[in-house]
Structures are given as C-alpha cells and as structure tokens.
Amino acid sequence: MYQYDEFDREFVEQRAKQFARQVERRLAGELPEDKFKPLRLMNGLYLQLHAYMLRINVPYGCLSSEQMRKLAHVSRLYDKSYGHLTTRQNMQLNWIRLVDMPEILNELASVNMHGIQSSGNCIRNITADEYAGVAADEIEDPRIYCEFLRQWSSLHPEFSFLPRKFKISVTGSPNDRAAVMAHDIGLRLYKNEEGESGFEVFVGGGLGRTPFVGKSIRTFLPTEHILSYCEAILRVYNQLGRRDNKYKARIKVLVHETGIDKIRELVEAEWESIRDGALNLPEEDIALIRARFTPPRYEAPLDSEDELKALREKNPDFDRWVDQQLAEHKQPGYSIVNISCTPIGKPPGDISSDQMEAVADLADLYSMGELRVTHNQNLVFTDVRRQDLFKLWQALVEIDLETANHGLITDTICCPGLDYCALANARSIPVAEKISNAFADHERQKEIGEIYINMSGCINACGHHHVGNIGILGVDKKNSELYQLMLGGSAKEDASIGKILGRGFDEDGIVTAVENVVDTYLEIRTDGETFIETHRRVGDDPFKERLYGASPKTR
C-alpha cells in the first residue's frame, strides 16, 4: 500500500496539534459552539444523539494491519470497544469524549490517520474499488490516481468552502464496485482503442434528497489530465453552485438545472486554460507515486487445488464460504477474500475492537499486512494464498467473521439510523437485522441469488437506499416509524435510481413486504435472471399487485 512521506506525516501531526489547542480553548470556555463547530467538523468530529462521533478517514478504503490495530486500540481505550464501517469506506466511533480528542488524534497521527475533511463542505475522502490493484477484471490500478486526488484535494485552499460537500469515487474495472455513478465525480479508468489509459468522467451523481445517476461529461480523459480536469469541474461548481439553499447546493442540482451540455462547455473552457499547467501529471510523476505503493511479494503458486478441493468436500461450511466470499485475483495462486461484517441478525458494518485486532493479525499472516474497507461495510483481504484459505477461514470462525453472504440478500447496506444519528428520522439497523434473520437460511439466500438491499433512516441516504435493488427509507410519520419500499435501483455500471412502490409499512410490515417482493421475483423470474434483471423486464406491477392488491387496470 501507499507509503506516506515526511510531508504527509508532518501535515497530519500539525493538524492534530492544532485541533488539540482548539479543544483546549473550547474546554476553557474561550470558544463558543458556533465558532468551534466548523473546526470540529473539519476534523471529522460530530455531535450525535448520545455523544460525540468521530469519523476517521480510510483513504480509498486501504488500511494497513498497523492502522487496524490502532483503530482497535483507540476504540477500546476511548470508545465502547467497537467501530462502524461506513458506506464511504471510513470508520466511525460513536461514543467519543471531547476531552479525549487530543490524545485520540495523536494516536491516529502515529499511524498517519485522521478525520480531516471527513465532514464539511469540502472534498471528502476519495473512495475506490475495494479490489483495486488485485482484481482479475481490472484494467489499471486506480489507487495511483486516488492518491493524486487525495494529495490534490487535501487542504486545497480554493475548495475548502464549497457550496456543499463533494465526493469522488474511482474504479479501474468495468465491473463497478465503487458506485462511481452515485458520486459528485465518478471516474472509470479504461484503455481506449489505441491502448492509451484514460478516464470516462461522470459528474452530478448523488443520492440524498434529490437522487441522480452521474452523467458522462467526458468519454475519454488521458490520465495525465485527471487533476486539471477535476479542478476545472470544481471551479465551475464553486462559482455556480447554489449557496442560498443547502438542499439545492450539490453539483448534481447544478448539472440537472443547467444541463450536462452547458456544464461540459463551461468545464472544457476552464480546463483549456489550466490543462497544461502545474496540475499536469507527466509519466515520471505517475511513476513516482506508483513506486510508493509497496509492490506485493507474490510467490510462485503452490499447487494446492487438490488439497483445497478435499478440504471443501470434508467441510461444508468452508465450502460454502469459499464459494461465496472469494473473488478472482490477477495473480495465479492467490484469491481476494471478502470478510463479511454483516453477520446474520447483527448491525451491518459494526466490528468489535477484539475483531479489529484479530483481523489485523490475520492480515499480517495471510494478506501481506493489508486490508480494505468496502462501501458495502465489509472488509477485504487482498492477497491471500489459496493454500492458506482453510487456515484463514478457521481463524475467522474463531472471531465470528466467517459469514458467507457476500452479494446475497443478508449482505445489506445500512446507515446508523435513529439509534445513533442526529439527522435520522427512523431506525434502520433493527429493520436490517429483522430482514437478515428472515432470510438467514443460506440455501434460501443462494436460491434468491444476487440482490442488494440498501436502507437509510432518513432522506440523506447514507445507506444508499436509492441504488439498492430493494431500497428502504425510514421516515417519521406522526412520531411513528414508517418504511417506504423502492425497487429498481442499482449502484453498478448499469446504475439506476429506484422508485417508491406505494404506501409505507411499519417495522414488521416492511420485513414481510420484502419477503413478498422476493417471493414474487422467485415466481416470475426466468432461468438465470437476477432480481434487478427481472424487475427491469416486468416493472413494478407484479410486485405492487402482491403487496397492495390488483390495481383497477390489471383487475
């Protein structure tokens, strides 16, 4: 993974010291909340329902075992011995005391971690494909460009007071695992017909109150121009984005209201004036950053396939796990391993300090000391020798992280909801748990196949409900929780926004409704058709009819 240099370390340490002084002044009564709030938010510190919450950046989802061990330590010593993996590949700690913040930031800085720009109207943590650098289907490693973007966007003076927050996501694979079209800027790295590397650039995607799929603003941008082109987009947004109404301030609204053609014209004109300036990335700069990513020391593969086959035959649970949790690695003899942090009936994305520590040790043993956080709130071991799979699985069983549900119906995305979040209107985790319990049977999950349920406890959509195949949105109706059901969303390369199906349900009703939707799908699907494919073929009607009865036109 990327090795930070002295500049990075100094920058993080200085900020930790600066914020420590600000906390000191606040506690001494010298800084009122209205002055302190923007400062704490710039460092990722929120005040939530029960206590302060600290959001810690995990740049493009990459974590070293040392960093994971530090998160275990910090969450155990200063929080309640667990953390929450977020849909932006970060970690949140829910029970932070303000008085502890200076120490916490020092601890995090010692492993190059921080919460800078994890909140506020600035460019947030860059997110990426969790299999970046190792996926068999990858065209080029997007982490190099994520790192350029991280450096460029960190404390960028021009973009520290944007109209609203700004999120960038990057994939280097045609199979989008980073939800790039649900971001303010989405970048898809590919090679053109001449074999040159470049990006298709999407702009104006986003969820929340006004969901949009990103629109293609440029079909091919040579990689050397990635920073100048993003700078041009941000400049246009910074100048024209609305500041009078926070609900209309995201770039998606600007793109929607102005039109993509006009936005393209403005961005291209701005880009022309800066494209060959200081932000141009010559090949030697790209090579320099590439060299700071420690190359994995792959070994010549042992022929362990016969042994693996025998172990799978002897251990049905291991067989199921191998079948579900592995992804194809570009290196023969290695596998990518998905580690589910969404066990049956438990809060999606929560991981205990003990599990963090154990996972860090396992990453050292079996994944070259590196892990990834996924936007689906799980973890990934990137480089596991296939001969180690059984030992790794046995170790995961010991720490309750062996759930085999990757891409299945119980692998839900879910925001913290009203159990923790000051913005939420309804709880989301209890509903996720109930749905998970309802579909706990593995054979039933396998029969249903690939399907994504995403759930949010408010319109801000941290649980990405609009792009779930089945989306659930919790709302407050006269001080009661009500859950709206939407179908047809997708966060992948075929991105789409789901639509509300009809009237909402109470907490138990929504679980039954999801079961009815799934049963309807099973009845009407054709061979090999996934849920989203069936929905796209038949539309809402069969599902509506099952849930609400026949409409007049179909009666």
């Binding site: 606040r26 506690l27 009564g29 800084l31 009122p32 909340e33 005040l47 939530q48 329902l49 029960h50 206590a51 302060y52 309640k80 029970w95 932070i96 005391r97 303000l98 008085v99 809060p347 009203l418 159990d419 923790y420 939420a424 309804a426 709880r427 985790i429 209890p430 748990e433 407050d476 001080n479 009661s480 929780e481």
Partner: protein, 97 residues
C-alpha cells in the same frame, strides 16, 4: 404537557437533563419536569446560561410524559437519547439502570 431541557455535556457529549431542581442530571428519571409556562421559561433561561458558560451544548426544551410512574420523552429521537441505542441495550443510559 410537562417539559424538561435536554442537552449534551460539553466535555464528553453525554446527554443531560435539566428539571425544576435546576441541576443537570444524566438520567431523565432523576428529573422533575416543568409543569407551567413560567417553569419552562426558567428552564430555557438556565439552559441558555449553561450553554453560554460553555458547560453544555444545544439546550432544547422537550416534552415528557409519565407512564406507570416512569418519565419518558415523547418524541422518538429524545426517547433514544434518554435510553441509548435500541440495537445495543448494553450501551447508553439503559445499560446503567
């Protein structure tokens, strides 16, 4: 409807309540709610003063009701703050009962 003031304590963010004893307490059950407009106004004023002294953050007057001798916050959000997350009964104020 009776009222108390709810806020977060500055130092640790913990939820605290202010009732007619005019003492900040950590449990709603230790609170005696305001029953009149005059008492409510006094609570609002005291909450603001504590905020100005930078002891607490975001003081807010909330409705409470007594059910079977136990005081509850009326709104879901405040009930959550008074108890703790429903998905982790080992955490928050509910864990201390």
């Amino acid at each position: 409807m009776p009222h108390v003031v709810i806020a977060n304590r500055l130092r640790d963010g913990i939820v605290v309540f202010l009732g007619t004893s005019h003492q900040w307490v950590e449990k709603l059950s230790e609170c005696s709610p305001a029953q009149s407009e005059a008492e409510e106004e006094a609570l609002i004023r005291l909450g603001q003063e504590a905020s100005d002294r930078q002891e607490i953050v975001d003081p807010t007057l909330i409705e409470v009701e007594e059910k079977e001798g136990v005081l509850h916050a009326v709104k879901m959000r405040e009930a959550m703050r008074a108890m703790g997350p429903t998905v982790r009964e080992d955490l928050g104020k509910q864990a201390e009962n």
